[in-house]
């Protein structure tokens, strides 16, 4: 399922290869802090570069680093999707 520009979705819903801006982390202080330390925080641009089968982790590119995030956690990170999508394979 392709995401239109400006739509708010979780990392899980975001299509492969899509980029977006983190808008909110729905989680406790601990989660927010751990993500913050890795540079994932509201306002940050991220690109989803892979997702694994069977509710596996989602891998993001954040600047030039790659961060893998467990499925449940990824479902609590809200992203505003950028415009066009190169090769969307939403799951």
């Amino acid at each position: 399922m392709a995401m239109r520009q400006g739509e708010r979705v979780t990392l899980v819903q975001m299509g492969l290869g899509q980029s977006g801006t983190v808008v909110e982390v729905l989680g406790g202080k601990g989660l927010v802090r751990r993500l913050d330390a890795l540079g994932i925080r509201p306002g940050k641009k991220v690109t989803k570069i892979s997702a694994t089968f069977f509710r596996g982790p989602v891998t993001l590119r954040v600047d030039s680093a790659q961060i893998a995030i467990g499925f449940g956690m990824a479902g609590r990170i809200m992203v505003e999707v950028d415009k066009e999508l190169p090769r969307s394979q939403g799951r």
Partner: protein, 568 residues
């Protein structure tokens, strides 16, 4: 003077450390904990400064116990070399600014400088230095480029003590700095990145994992068997045996000292697996049977670690590991366990939550035989045929999975989620791999040798005193009834508490059938941790959880051993 090397994980800290310190490095535990760090010395003129490679951390507000140690160590440093990954300036500077808030002089090593250039990342070093108010030196740890300059400028390290009220404020400042000093230009896709893309693809990832694990397995076997066949065995045969035979004659080929030092002669000759004297089997097991496998295993592990492959394996296995109450990252301590369970259980510190650490540590003690034990299993059971070795490994893997499934159901709570940086593939820094290999191998010799010799000695003395007959009679119902082993096998099981490699060696003279060998090796691997693992389990989990874990181990071992006995 004490210099701390601090920075995010995967920023090439160890390579830089090795360039700064030269050869004499020591691995130690942080007092009161089991987080390991390495220490070495830097010579500047007449002065020797201690350099400490602090465990990598993303923040000074610790999010796990390994990071806590990094923060604790910060209090004891006189100077911090902040190692910054130039390819990832923004996130790394966040830690730099946190360091600058502390009361300690800081100098920045802008590392992986070469790679940043390749990637089209240009950083205005002079400007960055001005903005931070501390010296910034571009370095390439792997080649040593910039290290001299870094050392020359150490005295310029400065304190800054700027402070930020909130994390957002700090990030805003980071963003400000980055926008002023960094410019990006077009770059080419490197073949590493092509490889990264393949391993990010789910199917490509599985394919690469299978290839990597198979290649690792065969490389370990090939290296170890070559070392045994061409180096260790000939050395013992041509140099050591003649000496021992002379000693044997001098001792009159029998008597108390003969049986302690040389053991029983088999057909008038020394049989290194069966004689069981201090100087025969006691030296042969650690040096000829086990050491080659230790070297091969840690060489392979070092390469996997430093190439950046292990986090990818963690991502791939995450879904599966969740069924066992763990997340993917738990595979890293587990793989360490195939070398030695002690550092593996310490490494469970990187996992979040008591529950996850308990499950991971218990599973490692049950289903992951250490390299020393594996070497003996391959040597002894392998004589009967590869299928029996496979049977031992298969049973262990199965119990690892089944016990994990059960523990995940039985223990309240849930497994935390994976959150891990996947570092880019990098060429292995051979210098670092060599040093790490040396640290680990010499650690094995230092720690294992005395216990091996002690175990062989104790066994011999107790044999002579006849103490084992009593134990064997008492435990006969379980050992013979349930497991179908001769009652002497209980002695090997008991010795397993001291050293599992020696214990497997003790099975050699018993003339067991292949089936009995499989049962005894499997039970020995699962039954109880060796004394070193036992102590570390208690320290890491607390006595109560350690006893619980031991209970799980004993129960699992008896069930699996009983089943195998019925089937074989």
């Amino acid at each position: 003077m004490r210099i701390l090397l601090m920075g995010n994980p995967n920023v090439g800290k160890s390579a830089l450390f090795s360039r700064l310190t030269g050869t004499h490095i020591i691995a130690s535990n942080y007092p009161g904990t089991t987080v390991e760090f390495t220490r070495g010395y830097l010579r500047r003129g007449e002065e020797h400064a201690e350099v400490i490679d602090v465990p990598g951390t993303y923040t000074l507000e610790p999010t796990n116990r390994a990071e806590e140690v990094a923060c604790e160590m910060l209090k004891e440093g006189d100077l911090v070399i902040d190692v910054v990954d130039a390819t990832n300036l923004e996130r790394n500077l966040n830690l730099t600014l946190q360091l600058l808030e502390r009361k300690v002089p800081v100098i920045v090593a802008l590392n992986i400088w070469d790679d940043a250039r390749h990637r089209g990342i240009d950083i205005d070093v002079v400007r960055l230095e001005k903005l931070l108010g501390v010296p910034v030196v571009p370095t390439v740890g792997v080649t040593g480029q910039g290290v001299k300059e870094l050392v020359r400028r150490l005295p310029e390290a400065a304190m800054h003590q700027e402070s930020y009220a909130t994390s957002d404020e700090r990030w805003a400042r980071v963003g400000d700095i980055v926008s002023q000093v960094q410019s990006l230009s077009h770059r080419h896709h490197t073949w590493y990145e092509v490889l990264e893309d393949i391993s990010n693809h789910p199917l490509g990832g599985v394919f690469i994992a299978v290839v990597v694990l198979l290649a690792t397995f065969f490389a370990i076997r090939f290296i170890a068997e070559s070392l045994i066949g061409y180096v260790a065995a000939p050395l013992f045969e041509w140099l050591w045996t003649p000496l021992l035979m002379k000693l044997s004659l001098a001792l009159g080929q029998g008597g108390f000292w003969h049986s302690i030092l040389i053991g029983n002669l088999v057909d008038g000759k020394i049989d290194y697996l069966r004689s069981f004297g201090l100087l025969s089997t006691g030296l042969y097991i650690p040096f000829a049977a086990v050491l080659p496998y230790i070297i091969a295993f840690y060489l392979a592990l070092g390469v996997l670690e430093d190439v950046g492959y292990l986090p990818r394996l963690a991502v791939l296995l995450d879904t599966f590991m969740h069924r066992l109450g763990l997340h993917g990252y738990a595979i890293i301590p587990t793989i360490l366990g195939f070398g030695c369970n002690v550092p593996a259980i310490m490494a469970t510190r990187i996992l979040e939550g008591r529950r996850q650490r308990f499950i991971a540590a218990t599973l490692i003690s049950i289903g992951v035989p250490c390299a020393a034990m594996q070497a003996m299993i391959i040597g002894l059971v392998g004589q009967q045929g590869g299928q029996y070795v496979a049977l031992v490994y298969g049973s262990l893997f199965l119990s690892w999975v089944v016990v994990g499934l059960i523990l995940n159901r039985a223990i309240k709570g849930f497994s935390p989620e994976l959150l891990v940086e996947v570092p880019p593939y990098r060429l292995p820094p051979w210098r670092v791999i060599g040093e790490k290999l040396w640290l680990r191998v010499s650690g094995f010799i230092r720690e294992a040798l005395p216990i091996v010799l002690g175990a062989v000695l104790v066994v011999n003395v107790l044999y002579t005193l006849g103490a084992f007959d009593f134990v064997a009679r008492v435990t006969a119902p379980v050992v013979s009834g349930l497991l179908g082993l001769p009652k002497e096998a209980v002695i090997a099981l008991a010795v397993g508490f001291l050293r599992k490699d020696v214990a497997v060696g003790m099975l050699a003279p018993l003339a067991l059938t292949p089936g009995q060998l499989v049962v005894s090796c499997t039970v020995l691997a699962m039954f109880f941790p060796c004394v070193a693992t036992f102590v570390v389990l208690a320290r890491e989990l607390g006595w109560r959880d350690m006893l619980k874990a031991s209970g799980v181990m004993v129960a699992a071992a008896l069930v699996i051993g009983g089943l195998l006995n019925l089937l074989l």
